[in-house]
Every structure is written in structure tokens, then in C-alpha cells.
């Protein structure tokens, strides 16, 4: 039976909860990060950066992402669940920025600041973007490749996928730089291995078979790069390999000289800057709209230098 006292009691309890909830929210902000992935070492490193910032600023951070970079629908579900929890701010690495626009508008209406990370969103809703300039980074990979093969010959790419922003940017960044600067270098093949180590290995072996004069291969993420190194080793053919990101196997391949070098982003920095910007945006402090988290080329010579070692992960 519902008595008036019960209703009153419930109401006052609710009021109490609401007020403490408000003060709690000010004590410990809740900031969910919806990422593009979770399992790969790169994302684990982003998460480590986010956790570091969370501890430093005294906020609560959660980190989740779909199984692979094609699961746009799964990611949209995660974003909408995160928004439903009325967070102080939200970090979002869009797999498909168009698909997320309705939800981002919802966030804007609810005055929840959005910080884009890893790659940008085609919208002016995010208060800031913390990302690597993937096109510029891949152009640097192309430049290193050109220098290592003597500015001429056949080159191929093993890319992680053909629809995600990072896949497209890294492919285009590499291809466009070669086209604009090195007319004597031909790009004879661009294959997609889904970032799967084994598939990228098979692709590489086939590429080396199909193009006996191949001088260089660019692997566009950790799984692709390791696959390229595996494939070249198994084929026993000498080819210049430029990779991307790090991970224990890739670092080892560079130390062994199997891989000439790789581009590394700053995943820990991406996670850290995202949370930092989210905290500032939630407090209404001004933030820089574009946070370039930087990238580096590393090879045998500088892999152990403090500047590089700090951004590599196992």
C-alpha cells in the first residue's frame, strides 16, 4: 500500500540523492571513452594514457571499443549507452563519423562536451580532436622508403582496411607523397589484410611472388607490419619494410634488421590528452581545438633513445 509518507519519503530521498549526486559528479567526474578497438596493443596503450590522466585529475574513466574496425553499428550502440549515463564529457574515436552524427547532436543538446580522439569527426560538434596526423605520418613513411630504395623501383602496400579513416589516410598519405615527389617509384599493389597477422603474411608472400622486382613494402598498422615482416622472412627475399606503430614483435623485427623502421604514434599521449581535454571542457575551461599528439620515425639507430622509447609499447 502506498501511503503519503512513503511518497514524501521517496521524494525527499530522491532530492537528497540528486543533490549528493550533483556534488559527487563535481568530486569525481565520469568520462567514458568509446574507442575504435580494445584488444590491440595500440588501444591498450591509449587506455593506459587515459587511466594515467584519470588518476591525475581525479576523474572516473571507462574505456571500451568494438572487436574490429568494421563494427560501426556496435560502436554506435556503445556511444549511445555511454550518453545515456549522462557523463561529464565523452571521448570518442569514430569508426564512421557520419554514422555517429545523430548521437553527437544528442550530446550537444545535452551539453555533454565531446572530445574526438585518434581520428577526427567530420563535424564541428567535438570541442577538440586529439589525434595523429595519419596522412603526414604515412608521407614520412613514404619519404623514408624512397630514400632506402634509392628513389626508384616497385613498392607495395599492405593496409589494414579500406574504409576506416586511418586506413584511408595512411594509404593516401603514402601513395600521394610518392606520386608527387618520386615519379620513378611505381606502386604496383595495394592489398588489405584486415590487420590480421596471418592474412597479412600470406598477402606479402603472394606479393613477393607476383612482383619479383619489388623493392619495398609498407605495412600500415601493427598487424599488417608484422605480417609483412613474417612474409618476407618466410619468402627469404630481401625487401625494404617500413611498418607502423610498435609492439614487441615489430620492435624485435627492427632490432634484427628485418624491418627498416616504422612510424610510431603516441598512443599514451592520445589517451592522456583526450581525458585532459575532456576534464577541461567539462569544467568550461577553454581548450585548443586541435591537439596534435605527434608521430616519429624510428629505426635501429634511435629505438632506444628516451624520446622514442617513451612512446613505444610492447
Amino acid at each position: 500500500m502506498i501511503t503519503r509518507r512513503m511518497i514524501l519519503g521517496t521524494l525527499s530521498a530522491a532530492a537528497l540523492l540528486a543533490s549528493t549526486g550533483f556534488s559527487l559528479a563535481q568530486d569525481k567526474m565520469y568520462i567514458p571513452l568509446v574507442s575504435k578497438g580494445f584488444q590491440h596493443q595500440f588501444w591498450q596503450a591509449v587506455k593506459a594514457g587515459a587511466d594515467k590522466a584519470a588518476a591525475e585529475f581525479g576523474v572516473e574513466v571507462t574505456f571500451e571499443g568494438p572487436d574490429n574496425e568494421t563494427m560501426v553499428d556496435r560502436q554506435i550502440d556503445m556511444l549511445s549507452a555511454a550518453l545515456a549515463k549522462k557523463p561529464a564529457a565523452i571521448g570518442f574515436a569514430a569508426l564512421d563519423s557520419q554514422a555517429a552524427i545523430p548521437l553527437l547532436k544528442q550530446a550537444e543538446a545535452a551539453k555533454i562536451p565531446v572530445i574526438a580522439f585518434d581520428s577526427g569527426v567530420d563535424s564541428d560538434i567535438p570541442a577538440a580532436t586529439a589525434a595523429t596526423d595519419n596522412k603526414a605520418a604515412a608521407a614520412l613513411a613514404a619519404e623514408k622508403m624512397a630514400a632506402l630504395i634509392g628513389d626508384e623501383g616497385e613498392v607495395a602496400l599492405v593496409v589494414h582496411d579500406q574504409t576506416s579513416r586511418t586506413g584511408v589516410d595512411r594509404r593516401d598519405g603514402f601513395v600521394e607523397w610518392i606520386a608527387a615527389n618520386k615519379p620513378k617509384i611505381q606502386i604496383v599493389a595495394i592489398e588489405y589484410g584486415g590487420g590480421d597477422h596471418l592474412k597479412s603474411t600470406e598477402i606479402t608472400k603472394t606479393l613477393l611472388q607476383a612482383h619479383p622486382n619489388l623493392k619495398g613494402i609498407f605495412g600500415s598498422n601493427e598487424g599488417s607490419a608484422i605480417g609483412v615482416a613474417n612474409g618476407a622472412r618466410e619468402s627469404g627475399k630481401k625487401v625494404v619494410i617500413i611498418g607502423y606503430d610498435s609492439g614487441a614483435a615489430q620492435k624485435q623485427a627492427i632490432r634484427d634488421g628485418l624491418m627498416a623502421g616504422a612510424i610510431t604514434q603516441n598512443p599514451v599521449g592520445i589517451g592522456y590528452e583526450t581525458v585532459k581535454a575532456a576534464v577541461m571542457a567539462a569544467k568550461g575551461e577553454p581548450i585548443v581545438p586541435t591537439i596534435d599528439t605527434g608521430f616519429y620515425f624510428y629505426d635501429k639507430s634511435n629505438i632506444d633513445s628516451p624520446e622514442i622509447a617513451a612512446v613505444l609499447y610492447d
Binding site: F38, Q39, H40, Q41, Q44, D67, Q162, V188, A189, I190, E191, Y192, D196, H197, L198, T201, E202, I203, K205, T206, L207, Q209, A210, H211, P212, I226, N230, E234, S235, G247, A248, A249, D314
Partner: protein, 338 residues
Amino acid sequence: MNATTDKTASTASQLSSGARLAGGAQQKLLAFASLIALVIGFSLASPNFFQVSNIMAILQATSVNGVLAVAATAVILTGGIDLSIGTLMTFCAVVAGVVLTWGGLPLPLGLLAAIGAGALVGLASGTFVARMKIPPFIATLGMMLVLKGLSLIITGAKPIYFNDTPGYTEISQGSLIGLVIPALPVPNGVLVLFLVALAMAFVLSRTVLGRYTYALGSNEEAVRLSGVNTNAWKMAVYALAGGICGIAGILISSRLNSAQPALGLGYELDAIAAVVIGGTSLAGGRGTVLGTLIGALIMSVLTNGLRILSVAPEWQTVVTGAIIILAVYADQLRRQRG
């Protein structure tokens, strides 16, 4: 996938091994002819295709999928399906990593642990299907997700490397045959695939377990009514398939010198495609390991050849899909006529 549909009438003839082998021979011939046609076609189209190094690469690329397809064949013959084989492969690789790299135990123990873990998980799936009457599709779909999660949890979503286990990469990449005949550097992974296929072919054609595997897929009810403990045999088949997934797990982790916890999802579909191209009926009761082996080779030849010809990656997948449909349609036509 219902075993008791329209095959009751033909059960008697299917159970007699003579009729089964005759039908099997014809269907293998068809698949084999397609394989040869593909090889000839690609060889004519590109001088880079038919070379020892490329043939070895194709065989090596078949090893993991081939072993998984052999595992899938046994389960499909019973009229069931196992969707968990891809993630089970990864799970077994992780178990090997835990035992060898984290535990520092000797190599044979790691291999046994991987195969044993596979067999145990297979036994669990078999129990869900046989005793708890959960449809195989659902039971193994659930198992697929459970294993995927467990692999990530155990490893903390980080790969386990086998740098401390000397010789581990030799399991798949070395070449025992090449040591004896230097002109024929067949990778060990391929040797393992052929041994696994040979063993499974023996089990299916020469043992009681094999006979019941076919019988379960032809008419489970008839087998049960004749006093056979169908549940126990079915569980044995799933456990056998699981153990073989353990071998696949060893092969892939040896190839990559690491257990990659995020891999595995999707590998079951490639394996099932190889089984189907090889002429095994998804309804169960009809099919052979040799057919599966040919099916797996067709898939690798196709993938390799299209890449050698620089066919755009998007079209490669379209062609592969079309070939799967064509292969099964050709098989249907032949059976309607027969």
C-alpha cells in the same frame, strides 16, 4: 542441419560403405578437376604462379585453414556444426603460451596442453549438443564467444610470445622434408596438415567412431533405436574435432611466434567453406576428408592466384564467394542426376 529429414529412405544404402565410397569418389573427382583447372588457368595467366616457392606458399597458407576444415568435417558429418573452431584455435594457442612461456615447461607439455584443452572444450560443446539438446549452431556460437572472451582475459589482451621456447617456430615453418630432399622444402605445417587429414580419413573410414559419425548424420534416430549410445559417440566426435583445433592453434602460433588473442573470429567460416566446396553435405552423413583437403586447397589457390594476377582486393572476395556457390551448385546438379 536436421539429421532426420529426407534421407531415411537412402539411409540403408548410405550406411553401406560401398555406395558411400562410390558417391564420394565422384564428388572428389569434380572438386579435384576444379582445382586442376584453377591451377592451369593461373599458370597460363601468370609466369609467377607455377613456381616451387609459390606452390609451397600456397600449401603453407592452406595448413591452418586445412586443419580447421578437417575438424569441421567430422562435426558436419554428424549433421552438426561447430562455429567455435576459430576462437578455440586461438584459445588453444593461448594455453600453449601460458604453459610454455609463462610456465616455462618443456615443449611437449605445451603441445599436449593445447591439444588437451581443445579436446576438453570440444567435449563440453558435445555435451551441450548431445546431452543438453542445445542445437549445435547455438551451442557452438555461445562457445565461440566464451572462448574469445577467455583468450582476452587470460592474456590481458596482450599477445604471448614464444621467444623462450627454442624450436617452437620450427613446428610450422621448418621443413623436415626439406632436410631429406632439399629440392622439396615442404614446410612442416603442411606435413602436419597431411598427417592430420590422413589420421582423420583413417578414423572415418576404418573405425567404429567413423562409422557412427556417418550414421549419426544420415539417420540419428535409426542409430539410437538400434541400441547405440548416440550421445556418447557425438560427444566423442566434438572432442576429436576440438583436439584437432588444438593442433591448428599450435600451427598458427608457431607461424606467428605468438599467441594473438584477438585473432580467430572468422576462421570458422573459411574452414566451413572449404568443407562445403569439398562436397561435404551440411545436412550431414555425406562427405570425405580428401574432399575437404581439396576444398581448402581450392580456396588458397584462388586467393593466391587472384592476388598474383593483381585482381582488386574487393573483387577477390566477390569471386571467392561466387566460387563457393558454384561449387555447391555443381555438386547438387550431379546428385540430382545420380
